[in-house]
Every structure is written in structure tokens, then in C-alpha cells.
């Protein structure tokens, strides 16, 4: 029996009972859509995060106060820092490590910001002039924080785009004096709209010199020192040097130093594992679909007992009968797989149209895996019915009982 004949024979049988075939492959379609869209969302999240970090600049090493035991884990955010990380530390790191182009301290606090009768609470970032280059900030008007000694404060502020809008509407904020907490600050610049970045809306932030920020929050420690490295620097060497210098200054390792790459890497691997887990859960639905196919094939075999008996009578051997029914199951499931792929792709597309911020894309491996899985499902769950058909007693089968 040639492969072509086998195919034609099985296909004719599948098409004979169209409605039942369609219903049985519906399960596979749904399973495939589930796997496809969930992995697409996972992949989309991964790309989103990676892009966000890339926009922060890639060759960054950051130092945060407090020991983070998990190597490569997320750097700690504000608050709860057990030990100080001082402006002096930043200066030392910049001066003593040649690969460091600049060490940029950042302090974060939240204060009431007001201009005349308008007031709101806004995040205040204390930092230095180099932050502009590091974050590739673009100014809508005025200029960013001036170059100066890190420990020298100044009563100047650069406003995020949305914050400027809220305080000044269409009026020109440059040169105006606003109140931040109990301080009076002169606006020297406004940033261009930038949008969300890793959950922080840069447009809402007011940037002031780091020394002012620390005095305002009454803190001795910065939240983070970001090390902007020269291109092609060895990040791990820099991290080792940072540790050496800071341990020398603090007498203990009371800080965490990670490279942006490590953060991206660990986030990626977390998201990758999540995607796999979710895909695994979704593929359970494919197994359920396989049981549906098995059920339909069992019904089909018992309905077509007389036909199986005839096939045996005219000289088909058990292997040929097994192949026919196995191929029928495989045809059903792979048709479901292809249909699911088409519908899933359309759905992913619609998802992208309705929520463009995170572009979701089904990963290539998932497309391949989904097709292989659906085909495999048909074959695995087709074995039992096909085996039954092949083992049927021809005499009983021909009598139809």
C-alpha cells in the first residue's frame, strides 16, 4: 500500500463524517490557540523588558546599598537600606576605576510640588548632569542639571513633561520658581515626553541636584550609584573593582553591585521559565483534545466494523489497517493544529492592534512545537483505536456485531 493511497483512503474517511471530524478537531484548535497566544504573551513580555533595559543603556553597572544574597537578582529599590552608600563613595568609584566614565548617584524621594495654587505630590530624583547622557534624556526646553561637584546642591529643577504640564499648562515654566517640600527651586529645563520606563513614569519626575535631594529627604545615603562605563569595558572586572574599593571603605560587603546585563539576563530567564510553564499548562488542553480525538476514532472504528471486516476479507493485513486508522487520527489532529495556528495568529494580531504598547509575538519554537504536539497528539491517541481496528475479528466484524 503506497503512502499516497494510504493518504487518500484516510482522507476520504475523515471527510465522510465532516461534522464529527470538525467537532473533534475543535479541541485541538483551542489547545493550539491557547499554547500559541500564551507563549506569544510571554515572548512579548520578554521583548518588552529587554527593550526597556536597552533604552536605559546597556553598559551600566549599578551599586545599591544592602546585601542582596541572590546573585544577579533585581537591585533593591528605595527604602530599607541598612547601610549608607554615600556621595563620597560615588566620587571614589569614578576616580579610582578607569573604566568608569562617570559614577552617577541617584536619590529618590516623594515631595509635594507646587506652583502658585497648583500642587501635587511627585517623585523627586536627585542626580547629576551625567544622568542626562546615561538615560538618553531629551529636553523640550532649557537644559538639564548643571555640571558641578556632586556634593554641592543648587536650587534648580528640571521637570518631567507631564509634571510641567500639570503645574504650568501652556505657560513657559523656564525661570519660574516652584516649591518642592519647603524648598524653592528655579525651573531650568523641561524634558520631552518619554512615557513609562520599567514602571516609572519619567514624565512625572522632578530632577534636582543629588546633594539637594539628599538634604531635602534628610538622608545620608543615596539609593543607587549608577556607573556609566566606557564602551567595551569588562563589566565583571569593574564589578570586582567596585567590591574591592567599597569593602575597603565600608569594612564589609554591605552593598550590591550588579550589571544591567545580569539583571536583563535573570529577568529574561525568569520570563522564559514562566513562558514555558504557561505553555506547559496550555498543552494540557492539547492532551484533552487528544482524548477527544481518541473518542471519535473509537466511535468511528465501532461504526465501521463492517468496513474493517471487509478490508480484512479483501486482503488488508493488520499493519495496513493500523496505518489507515492512525493516519486518520493524525490527519484530524494536524488539521486542528494548522487551523489553530491560523486562528491563533489572527488573534495575536488582533491583540497587537488593540494593545500596541506590548508587542506580542508567538516565538518560532512555539509554532514548531505546537504543530509537532498536535500531530503527536493524534498519533499517540490514535494508537488505541487503530490497534482495536487492526485486531478486530473479521468474521464478527463482517456480521456487524
Amino acid at each position: 500500500m503506497s503512502l499516497r493511497d494510504l493518504f487518500a483512503f484516510a482522507l476520504a474517511a475523515v471527510l465522510q463524517n465532516r461534522r464529527r471530524s470538525a467537532l473533534s478537531l475543535l479541541g485541538v484548535v483551542i489547545g493550539v490557540i491557547a499554547v500559541l497566544s500564551l507563549t506569544a504573551i510571554g515572548e512579548g513580555a520578554l521583548r518588552y523588558v529587554t527593550n526597556q533595559f536597552a533604552s536605559l543603556g546597556s553598559s551600566i553597572v549599578s551599586v545599591t546599598p544592602g546585601r542582596n544574597e541572590t546573585t544577579g537578582g533585581l537591585p533593591q529599590g528605595g527604602g530599607g537600606a541598612p547601610n549608607d552608600l554615600t556621595l563620597r563613595d560615588a566620587v571614589v568609584l569614578e576616580r579610582r576605576i578607569p573604566a568608569v566614565r562617570s559614577a552617577i548617584p541617584v536619590s529618590i524621594s516623594t515631595e509635594a510640588v507646587s506652583f502658585r495654587e497648583r500642587a501635587r505630590r511627585a517623585p523627586i530624583a536627585g542626580t547629576t548632569a551625567d544622568f542626562e547622557r546615561l538615560q538618553q534624556l531629551e529636553l523640550a526646553m532649557g537644559r538639564f542639571l548643571p555640571e558641578s561637584e556632586v556634593d554641592r546642591g543648587a536650587s534648580v529643577v528640571v521637570l518631567g513633561h507631564a509634571l510641567a504640564r500639570e503645574l504650568f499648562d501652556e505657560a513657559n515654566p523656564l525661570g519660574a520658581t516652584i516649591r518642592i517640600g519647603s524648598w524653592r527651586m528655579r525651573v531650568i529645563g523641561v524634558l520631552q515626553a518619554r512615557g513609562q520606563q520599567l514602571g516609572i513614569d519619567v514624565d512625572e519626575v522632578a530632577f534636582i541636584p543629588v546633594a539637594s535631594g539628599m538634604r531635602m529627604a534628610n538622608k545620608r545615603s543615596v539609593h543607587r550609584i549608577m556607573l556609566d562605563l566606557w564602551p567595551r569595558s569588562d563589566q565583571s572586572e569593574v564589578i570586582a573593582r567596585v567590591k574591592e574599593l567599597l569593602i575597603e571603605r565600608h569594612d564589609e560587603e554591605d552593598f550590591t553591585c550588579v550589571s544591567q546585563d545580569a539583571v536583563v539576563e535573570s529577568l529574561s530567564s525568569i520570563l522564559g521559565i514562566l513562558t514555558l510553564v504557561v505553555a506547559g499548562i496550555a498543552s494540557v488542553s492539547l492532551a484533552v483534545a487528544g482524548i477527544g480525538i481518541m473518542n471519535v476514532m473509537l466511535v468511528s472504528v465501532s461504526e465501521r466494523r463492517a468496513e474493517v471486516g471487509l478490508l480484512k476479507a479483501v486482503g488488508a493485513n493488520p499493519r495496513q489497517i493500523l496505518a489507515i486508522f492512525l493516519l486518520e487520527a493524525a490527519l484530524l489532529s494536524s488539521a486542528g493544529g494548522l487551523l489553530g495556528l491560523v486562528v491563533g495568529t489572527v488573534l495575536v494580531h488582533l491583540g497587537n492592534l488593540s494593545y500596541p504598547a506590548v508587542e506580542i509575538v508567538p516565538p518560532v519554537w512555539a509554532v514548531g512545537a505546537v504543530l509537532a504536539l498536535s500531530l503527536g497528539t493524534g498519533i499517540v491517541f490514535g494508537v488505541l483505536p487503530a490497534w482495536r481496528a487492526a485486531r478486530l475479528d473479521p468474521v464478527a466484524a463482517l456480521q456487524g456485531n
Binding site: 474517511a13 479483501v314 486482503g315 493488520p318 463482517l398
Partner: protein, 253 residues
């Protein structure tokens, strides 16, 4: 030549054992036209199934064209059915989704015969039963007689030496039945061994030889032309062919 010796076939149904064949022995020569007649439950269909390699005897010997068939495995049995035996059933057993031509082609698919040759042979076979104008019809578009003729075309397309027919006219009106019997006679004249299982004396009458079965054994053997009616066949002493006692009777005596 078909030779069976001391065939036993027992079906177990719950507690009861049904002896479908009780030590049947028979020899059918090449090119013979034999009818097996008997009431239902006489074991005639079981004998036909064993002869057709669809069923295996519990005991006994069966040689087909000099080959011991009883010892063959399933694949070899399938191969034997494919090459040497053609089946014709009471209920036709055509595959409903396939056209007449495709139904006739089917055995050749399993034999791995290439499509072009298959098509040509199937057409010739359909032509031989007078249905060349019904090639593309589905079984549900054919009359009973036409269906059985398609089945005959299918049974003969692999050119087997033996045709086994189980009540071939059982579902047909008398005119279609006669057509089918004429075809069988034609095939017999072409040199094939034709074995027909029936309970209809008018069908049995067309055979060279009639084997009368009862209770899983062979009661007697009579020439086909001597068959008058069922009753006379089973009346001991009254029926012609008394001179040809069955093996069993000889043994019991």
C-alpha cells in the same frame, strides 16, 4: 485444490459451547462449482469462513493449493485472502463513500498495484459484470443487483482461483439473483473454483455438486442437478445421492 480434514470449530458463549464444525472433511477440486446447503446453524457459514481464511479452525487440517493454511500467521493469511480468494457477501459490503470503480480498486491498493494499472484493471472488471456505465456511482446510487455485481467485480479483480459466496442472492429479487448466478456460472466456466453457501435449493441446483450440512457435519453430497427441494435433501433415504455418504456417516457406521 482445497482439502480440509477433520475441521473442528467451537464457539464458547458463556457456559455453553457451540460446536459450529464437528470434524468436517471435504475435498474440492480446482474449477469445481460447489454449493454448501443447510439450515441456519448447520455450520455452513463457519466452513466458508474457514475456507476463506477469515476464521481459524480449533483443530484439523486445511491445505489450499498444496499449502498448509492452518499454520499461517495473520499477515500470511491476509496475503492468501488477497491473492487466492475472492469474497462475495449477502450484504455486498461496499464502502459507501467510494465510487463503484474505487470499490473495485480496493484490493489492488493493498496489493500495492500502481494507480494506472489499478484503474485499467478495475474498469475491465466492472465491464465484465456489465457495469462500465456505473463507474462513478456511489453504492447508494446502485440497485441491489448492481451492488452485488460491483462486489463480484471486486472479488475477481485480483484474479483469485477461488470465489467464496455467502448467500450471494439472499438480498436480491429473483431477476437480479438470476443475473448474479449467471455471472457466477460464467466465472466457473472461466476456470475458477466457485463455492456458494446457501439455503436456497434453486441456487444450489446450479452447482456441480452440493454438500449438505447439518449440526456442524456433512450429511451427504449430491449432484447439483438432483436437488429438488430442501425437505427431500434432509430426509434420510428419500433423497437422491444416498450412494454418496458423508465421511461422518461412514465413520459412524
Amino acid at each position: 485444490m482445497i482439502r480440509v480434514e477433520d475441521l473442528w470449530r467451537t464457539y464458547v458463549m458463556g457456559d455453553t459451547e457451540l460446536h459450529a464444525l464437528r470434524g468436517v472433511s471435504e475435498t474440492i477440486g480446482d474449477g469445481e462449482y460447489v454449493a454448501i446447503i443447510g439450515p441456519s446453524g448447520s455450520g455452513k457459514s463457519t466452513l466458508l469462513n474457514v475456507l476463506g481464511c477469515l476464521d481459524s479452525p480449533d483443530r484439523g487440517r486445511y491445505s489450499l493449493a498444496g499449502e498448509d493454511v492452518a499454520g499461517l500467521d495473520e499477515d500470511a493469511l491476509a496475503e492468501t485472502r488477497l491473492r487466492r480468494i475472492g469474497f462475495i457477501f449477502q450484504s455486498f459490503h461496499l464502502v459507501p463513500r467510494l465510487s463503484a470503480l474505487q470499490n473495485v480498486e480496493m484490493p489492488m491498493i493493498f496489493a500495492g498495484i500502481p494507480p494506472a494499472e489499478r484503474r485499467a484493471r478495475a474498469k475491465a472488471s466492472l465491464d465484465a459484470v456489465g457495469l462500465s456505465d456505473r463507474e462513478s456511482h456511489r453504492p447508494n446510487e446502485l440497485s441491489g443487483g448492481q451492488k452485488q455485481r460491483v462486489a463480484i467485480a471486486r472479488a475477481t479483480v485480483m484474479d483469485p482461483g477461488v470465489l467464496l459466496c455467502d448467500e450471494p442472492t439472499g438480498n436480491l429479487d429473483s431477476r437480479s439473483g438470476a443475473q448474479v448466478l449467471d455471472l457466477l456460472a460464467e466465472l466457473h466456466e472461466g476456470g475458477r473454483t466457485v463455492i456458494v453457501v446457501t439455503h436456497d435449493p434453486s441456487v444450489a441446483r446450479r452447482a456441480d455438486r452440493v454438500v449438505v450440512m447439518r449440526d456442524g457435519g456433512i450429511l451427504k453430497r449430491v449432484p447439483g442437478r438432483d436437488v429438488v427441494d430442501l425437505g427431500s435433501l434432509f430426509e434420510p433415504g428419500a433423497a437422491p445421492g444416498e450412494d454418496a455418504p458423508s465421511v461422518e456417516e461412514a465413520r459412524e457406521a
